[in-house]
Each structure stands twice: as structure tokens, then as C-alpha cells.
Symmetry: C2
Subunit: 259 residues, 2 copies
């Protein structure tokens, strides 16, 4: 069945959405069936792919999470493109809604994903997470097989890593022994600056093998593509941004032993 990858980091603005969108687009481009699930109330994944999440008849990830029995259908973006459940404003209260479910609260997303019955099964489900470590994020970790951790090439981005890795360890012990760190992805690197070089060296020293060889450079094209509602592959197919997300996808497929 599907490989579920959570893109997660409680530090804000590190490239979670940009990575979730472009990884799922790249996988779909290579012929894999990919689903992008945005569990951040900001809903930036939909905007990044040109979808109006408030449009008539669009089912959101909140619908999937709390009413899976209604079999809400994702937005289809076309051939060789990911399907999408946009994020919803009602996810702001997700922690409270989940808390009210008592015992089951930790497994709501896992059960909702298990109930998905697409016409053609997904090879990958990519989850964009909010910048927090609350109950919704724990739900994401319990439902996932792997996590991808974007790390912005900034000093403050290093600070929360220990807290995040400890949380993963706790989830692995208590609920999801199979949860693995697929890898840590250095984002927005600008190797002309000393700071960037220092952060890259620190991250590779502390996290070793877990850090992807591929780094995502800071490029104007990557920051522009959301305003055109396109993934980097539609917006600037052969630029540095697309090439780096393409290399990341190949590195991920190799780590997973897939063609």
C-alpha cells in the first residue's frame, strides 16, 4: 500500500510547504501516483498549486480527518500531477477537536488514511504539517511511515531539532515503532555566506547520514512559483530549484529501494 511521508518541523518558514508541494509534483512527474495532504490551517499547499480551497465542492483535509466515512474526494490536478486535499481554516481547532475524541484521538489520521479507497491506489502520500508539535502533529507522526525534516540554512533553525528528534523517539516508542527519519533536507542554502557554510557543517556533523546529499538552494524562482500557482516543474523546469528537487526525489527513491 501507500508510502506515507510527513514533511515536518515545528520551526516556521523552513520550506515544509515548498518541499511537500515540489516533492509530490516530482514523484507524479516520474509516473508515481502521489497524494498531497495539507494539514496546516494556513493552506499554503493549495495556493502553491493554483487551487482555491474555498471553491464550491472542494473537500479539505479537515473533511478527510474528521468525516472519512463520507469518502471526501481529493482535488485532481491532472495526469502526472499529484492529487490534493487542501488545508482548511477549521484545522486551527484541530488540537481541541482531537482532544475531545478521548482514547482514539492519537489514531484519527491513521484510521482516516486507512479508509481511503481511491480508484487507483497511491504509491505516495505526502503530508504538509503546521509549524507546531501539538496533537495534530502527533497524529501525523503516528500515521506516517517516514518523516522528511526540512532545515533552513539559518542559525535559529538548529535550535528546535533536538526537541523534534526527541518527539519522534517518543512516538516510535509509544505508538509507531516503524516511524523512520527518511532524511533531513537543507533548504534555502546560499553557500556564498559564512553562516550558510557553518550551518551546513553543523548539520552534517550532528545528523550525519540522515542528511540528504541534495541541498535546496535559495532561488528567486522557488519563491516566485507559488504566486503563479505552479510547482517549480511547471514554472521553471530546468532551473536550479527544479533540478535540486528532482535530485532530492531520486535520492529518496534510492533510500526507499524504488526505481
Amino acid at each position: 500500500s501507500s508510502i506515507i511521508i510527513a514533511v515536518i518541523n515545528q520551526k516556521g518558514g523552513v520550506g515544509k510547504t515548498t518541499s511537500a508541494v515540489n516533492l509530490s509534483a516530482s514523484l507524479a512527474l516520474k509516473g508515481y501516483r502521489a497524494l498531497l495532504l495539507d494539514l496546516d490551517p494556513q493552506g499554503n499547499a493549495a495556493t502553491s498549486l493554483g487551487i482555491d480551497r474555498y471553491a464550491e465542492g472542494i473537500a479539505t483535509s479537515h473533511d478527510l480527518l474528521l468525516s472519512p466515512q463520507d469518502h471526501p474526494q481529493p482535488v485532481s490536478l491532472g495526469t502526472n500531477k499529484p492529487d490534493l486535499y487542501p488545508g482548511s481554516v477549521s484545522l486551527i481547532r484541530a488540537d481541541i477537536d482531537l482532544l475531545a475524541l478521548g482514547e482514539r484521538r492519537d489514531f484519527v489520521l491513521r484510521d482516516a488514511l486507512a479508509s481511503l479507497a481511491p480508484a487507483e491506489p497511491y504509491d505516495f502520500i505526502i503530508i504538509d504539517s503546521p509549524p507546531s508539535l501539538g496533537i495534530l502533529t502527533l497524529n501525523i507522526l503516528i500515521a506516517s511511515h517516514h518523516v522528511l525534516i526540512p532545515i533552513q540554512c539559518e542559525y535559529l533553525a538548529l535550535e528546535g531539532l533536538t526537541m523534534l528528534l526527541e518527539t519522534l523517539e517518543e512516538i516510535r516508542r509509544a505508538h509507531n515503532p516503524a516511524l523512520s527519519v527518511l532524511g533531513c533536507l537543507i533548504t534555502m542554502s546560499d553557500l556564498r555566506t559564512n553562516l550558510s557554510q557553518q550551518v551546513v557543517a553543523d548539520v552534517r556533523t550532528h545528523l550525519g547520514e540522515r542528511v540528504f546529499n541534495t541541498m535546496i538552494p535559495r532561488t528567486v524562482r522557488l519563491s516566485e512559483c507559488p504566486s503563479h500557482g505552479q510547482s517549480i516543474f511547471d514554472y521553471d523546469r530546468w532551473g536550479a530549484g527544479a533540478r535540486s528537487y528532482d535530485a532530492l526525489t531520486r535520492e529518496i527513491l534510492t533510500r526507499l529501494g524504488l526505481p
Copy 2:
């Protein structure tokens, strides 16, 4: 009594901590008594000012929030420097801890700040918020007189503004009629790019007078200073970063009718 300013935006990585730290440092440098309160579990404000929040005997903002009767003392950073309550990891559960308090839950921070009895009263209390709109953030909005909204010069940063302004309106109606938008601060601007110019134009069109004239440019020095544990005023006193936060402080003081 003290003027309480919340630095808030649920979008991550937009410059909340950088602005809270350097605004409180700039106010203190001008001779105002300033307190910096970090209510983000990541605790980046302490690191940015060279404080180890795990050190012996340091009272955190979680202590102030949930046990104000013990009169936890802030960290003093010295003459013409802000005092600081560092953020604490236990704030991750703050939404749940507050929820458990029932009726009082919305006013916990307001009451905790009212119980502060510093030897010398603070002119300003600057609050660094987490990237969310949960119960803790609502507490911050109910306790504050003004909000300062950092807006990163990026397309995705525009998306959540409506949600944020609607939340402010709700808080004003239900709990805190005096809550005002002190201003919206454009951060990490790089006017060499079309995107930045476009975002600045959009923000000024939509938000008009609320946008500060002062913009904070993206500078390497501002991203480096947290790694030295110094505010920009100690790290690079006359560079573009310090000059822009200095100009912001003067603009804020003018808006508040203060010298």
C-alpha cells in the same frame, strides 16, 4: 502602567522573534524599561540574546503564565537592555493546559501580567508569539494593547493575513475592545527582486496606513546575530539592520505619542 505589544503572525519564519528581540533591545537602548516575554516553545528569543534557558534558576514564561503567585523573576540582561522571560518547552502543551482551566482560560496571561510587581515598572512589555492561532495566542491577544504584525516579503506570507485580521476583530469584539493594530512591518525585503517589489505594493494597497513606513531589509548580519547571542545593536550597531530597527522604534514611539 506598561504598554503591551504582541508580535504576532501565524505564518512561520516571518521575523517575529527577530523583531521582538530587536524592538525590545532598541527601546531599552533609548532608556525605556522593556520586558521581553517569549511565549513560543521554541525559545528562540533567549538564544538570540545569549541566554541558556535551561540554566539553573531561570524562570520561564511558562512559570509566569501558570504560577504567577510564585513571582518568578525575569532574567536581567543589564543596563539599557531588556529583561527576559525565556520560552519554555512546556509551552507545547499550553493550549491543553489552558483549556483545562475552563472559564478563566482566556484571561490567564492578562491576569499573570497584571500580577507582575517589578521593582521599577516596565514602560513596554513585548511578547514573542508562536506561529499559530491557538488558545495561547488568543490569550496573548486578550492580554495585549497593541499588535505588531511582521509580514515577510514573500507571496505565501500574504495568504494568512485575512485570517489573522479576522481573528483580531473577533478578539476585539468579544474580549479586548482596546486591542489595536500598531502596524504591519515588512521584513526581509530585497527590492532588487520583482517579487519583493510586488509584495510591498500589494501590502501597502491592502493595508494602507497600517503598514509602517520603515521596512526591514534582508541582511546577512540580522541572520548572523542570533549565533552570537546578541541583538543587532550589539552585533552590528551601524549596519542596515540596526538602522532599520532603530527607525522602526522611532516610528512606533511617534505612533504612540511618546518621546
